[in-house]
Symmetry: C2
Subunit: 244 residues, 2 copies
């Protein structure tokens, strides 16, 4: 019962495709199908897609992907947790993938299946990613003077009525400082976020407390920069990874 060789069939009949797919779903294999098909989706939104050649991937965790020859994103999909079902309907091979909460359904109707394959896939590894917001946070915690001289971090993920603040601390004068981190160049949305946290803390702390808000990112857009000024918020340029 260890990993078996991939099962594949070129130009299978609908019945042959059905056999492969049903058994593969049963045995929790990763399935790929290729051929001309129509796709219908109904759920949070709804869509139809007329006949074209597509690659359909069914994963053992219940995800489904419909890929065309273009684009990084699938043209249709279903998230993990769905139930895949295959059948032959009116002589054509059909895959249906359903879930509840919310009720959603994906239907792929093949004009013909040009290829089907099934794989035993196991992947014990986690992705090791660097250059994230967490890396930016750690850079500042390791050397708070990167933010400004005299800055002292007091907490990460500090809760406020408006949400959790990335880094909360004190400046050299003892003022409260709210730091919002972004791993890349930011627009007006990040300024709004920082502003909400600063307002919330100003309401929560003593009325006489000064609360500074500092946005930390590699850079800001013009509009975001003007918005920062208007809100009396500050900006410090810093990347998740030291500049080369």
């Amino acid at each position: 019962m260890s990993r078996e060789a991939p099962s594949t069939a070129v130009e299978p009949t609908p019945e042959q495709a059905l056999d492969v797919v049903r058994e593969s779903i049963e045995r929790e294999r990763l399935v790929t199908l290729f051929g001309p098909c129509r796709v219908e989706y109904e759920g949070r939104a709804s869509s139809t897609l007329d006949v074209g050649d597509r690659l359909v991937v069914l994963k053992p965790d219940g995800s489904a992907l419909v890929h065309t020859d273009e684009g990084q994103q699938p043209v249709n999909w279903q998230p993990p947790g769905c139930t895949h079902e295959a059948r032959v309907d009116d002589g054509t091979f059909v895959v249906e993938s359903q879930r509840t909460t919310p009720d959603e359904e994906l239907l792929v109707r093949f004009e013909s299946v040009r290829h089907v394959a099934a794989y035993d896939a196991t992947d014990p590894e986690d992705l090791a990613l660097s250059g994230t917001e967490a890396d930016l946070r750690d850079r500042i915690l390791d050397d708070p003077s990167l933010l400004e001289d005299g800055f002292e971090p007091r907490a990460t993920e500090r809760d406020t009525p408006a949400g959790a603040v990335d880094i909360f601390g004190e400046d050299a004068e003892g003022n409260a400082v709210v730091v919002e981190l972004k791993r890349r160049r930011v627009g007006p949305d990040a300024v709004g976020q920082l502003n909400r946290y600063v307002e919330a803390l100003r309401r929560d702390l003593h009325a006489d407390a000064t609360v500074r808000g500092i946005l930390v990112a590699p850079s800001v857009t013009d509009r975001a920069g003007r918005l920062l000024e208007r809100r009396d918020l500050e900006f410090v340029s810093l990347s998740p990874v030291p500049e080369t």
Copy 2:
């Protein structure tokens, strides 16, 4: 030179895989590879992924996808416009996908290729999607009283210094109305967005002009609701699709 049958090879040697993949890239076919591999990415961020079974998809538009047995999203990828290259390196089959602006590179090193397939794929169809924000906008433009009696739309995508307003109009009393649309339940971010537009218009219009801000969505979260009140903004519950 019309559509040929899929080419596939089970357990190819690295050299056989190389032949198939090189020719398929040349001929702009859609390629899938399956087998145990390591993956490295370097670009906006960087990542490594140790050995595991994965499905790799190379598209003729230059996209690359690395899928594990779990998750809707690829564990690694490359966007359209990249250059795919295959080679045998130290006896192992390797795929490299590169792009510029920004410089990014994806490297997939197979321990062994368990299956390779190549497809001629053409897809002339566009997805027909409904239930989007555009549908919500059209509902209101068709029947402005859905927003409130006496509302008159004047413009969509009206420009302000803070960005484009979804719907700009006038209420029964002649006050300016800024409408922000969301196709689903919204959080604090949407309130911030609406607030920016309202502030910008208050600065732009005559000092004595009243500018109302209305958020239109199926529902709002508690925090967003409180934020709306604090900012003196309004909420109207409406879905992109009429309720059943």
